[in-house]
């Protein structure tokens, strides 16, 4: 983590702790400010873990609900890590209980009018290739184990390090590394016939 990233993280922690303190004092708006800050991030993470938009939305709602109820127990350094751990636990519960057929976490891809954000200068062919690549990758992510998937998403997308992920998943450092490495190998095996999509 470079100096700028560290400074941003520190400022975020200070802001979050102030919002937690105000929430504990009975200020619901302060808690809802925390919700506003983290709901996009938590939903994006959770829907990729459970692969079902409604189930993910329920898990995120439950996570915020649980966080609000247990806010007095937050003594950690990072609210972001704390709420992530709660959301991952809620997602795990959803995966255990889920009876419904998994649904595409990206309904936008079923809508021809929607295009993922791309560089206009790269042209429609490149945009179509990126879309195919993202769909293939998203489908492959759903075929590895939920623990491997969550660890890889936290590492690659959210930028957490191994130690932070170990704390969030409640496992050892070695287990996190194993999940990530084995998950990467499984992803590569699944995507081997489509690797042309990944060569920009």
């Amino acid at each position: 983590m470079d100096d700028h990233a560290r400074q941003v993280a520190d400022e975020r922690r200070v802001r979050d702790r102030a919002l937690v303190a105000a929430s504990l004092a009975g200020d619901l708006d302060a808690f809802n400010r925390l919700v506003e800050l983290y709901q996009d991030y938590l939903f994006a993470l959770t829907v990729r873990v459970v692969n079902d938009r409604e189930a993910a939305a329920d898990a995120v709602q439950e996570a915020f609900f649980s966080a609000y109820r247990n806010l007095h127990r937050f003594h950690g350094d990072s609210f972001r890590s704390w709420i992530t751990r709660i959301a991952l636990n809620a997602a795990t519960d959803v995966l255990r209980l889920r009876k419904r057929r998994p649904a595409d976490p990206y309904p936008e891809w079923e809508d021809d009018s929607w295009q993922p954000p791309t560089d206009e200068a790269e042209g429609p062919e490149h945009a179509a290739m990126l879309r195919s690549r993202d769909r293939a990758l998203s489908a492959a992510l759903q075929k590895i184990t939920p623990d491997q998937r969550a660890a890889i998403l936290l590492y690659d997308i959210e930028g957490y390090d191994y130690q932070e992920i170990a704390q969030m998943q409640g496992v050892s450092l070695g287990t996190v590394k194993s999940r990530i490495h084995r998950g990467r190998l499984a992803l590569r095996d699944l995507l081997a016939p489509q690797m042309d999509l990944f060569r920009d």
């Binding site: 619901l28 808690f31 809802n32 919700v35 506003e36 709901q39 996009d40 938590l42 939903f43 994006a44 829907v47 990729r48 938009r53 409604e54 939305a57 995120v60 709602q61 915020f64 609900f65 609000y68 109820r69 976490p105 990206y106 936008e108 993922p116 954000p117 690549r133 993202d134 990758l137 998203s138 992510l141 890889i152 998403l153 690659d156 997308i157 590394k177 990530i180 490495h181 084995r182 990467r184 190998l185 992803l187 590569r188 995507l191 081997a192 690797m195 990944f198 060569r199």
Partner: protein, 177 residues
């Protein structure tokens, strides 16, 4: 001790330890492991492809677009009040949610059946109910314990022996682990 099959470059790719290459790409190798992994990558075209592919997949994963959020998760004052309610109260309020509507008739039926069973249990003699005039044979009260509770010293001995055996099994189990 984990097994590391560091086959020399040029051997069949299937026998190469692929996780070693993944760990090399993640910079997660000890100084003792690194030369073998680098030799694999340098001497086996498929191993080199694997290392490159894993790197590209990780890069693409980091750039996946974020799925859009379907609703706002901010809490209403009612939800906030519910969050601080009693455990039973929270369960009842959740069961009252519209999406669990299908469970409500089932819950009502279960309550009705339970009520009937309680009434029947209290009202019928011989079923352990409060109005039973005569205690049914084979039913023992605390004041009149069953014969099994009047064990003599010799009767009790096997039971203690059994506990002792149980302790021995636990001991074996610990040794086994």
């Amino acid at each position: 001790m984990p097994r590391h099959d560091h086959s020399p470059p040029g051997a069949d790719h299937q026998s190469h330890e692929r996780l070693l290459l993944i760990r090399l790409a993640a910079d997660d190798l000890s100084s003792a492991e690194r030369p073998a992994a680098e030799a694999l990558r340098a001497g086996c075209a498929e191993c080199a492809d694997l290392a490159r592919d894993v790197d590209m997949i990780a890069h693409a994963t980091a750039r996946l677009p974020a799925p859009s959020r379907p609703r706002d998760f901010r809490m209403s004052p009612e939800q906030a009040r519910m969050a601080h309610g009693t455990f039973i109260g929270r369960i009842l309020e959740r069961l009252a949610a519209p999406r669990l509507g299908i469970l409500q008739p089932l819950g009502a039926a279960a309550v009705a059946i339970g009520f009937v069973l309680v009434v029947v249990g209290l009202g019928l003699p011989g079923m352990g109910g409060a109005s039973s005039a005569v205690q049914a044979p084979g039913v023992y009260s605390a004041a009149d314990p069953s014969p099994a509770m009047h064990l003599t010293g010799s009767d009790a001995a096997p039971a203690e022996g059994a506990r002792s055996d149980g302790g021995g099994r636990r001991g074996c189990s610990r040794r086994g682990r």
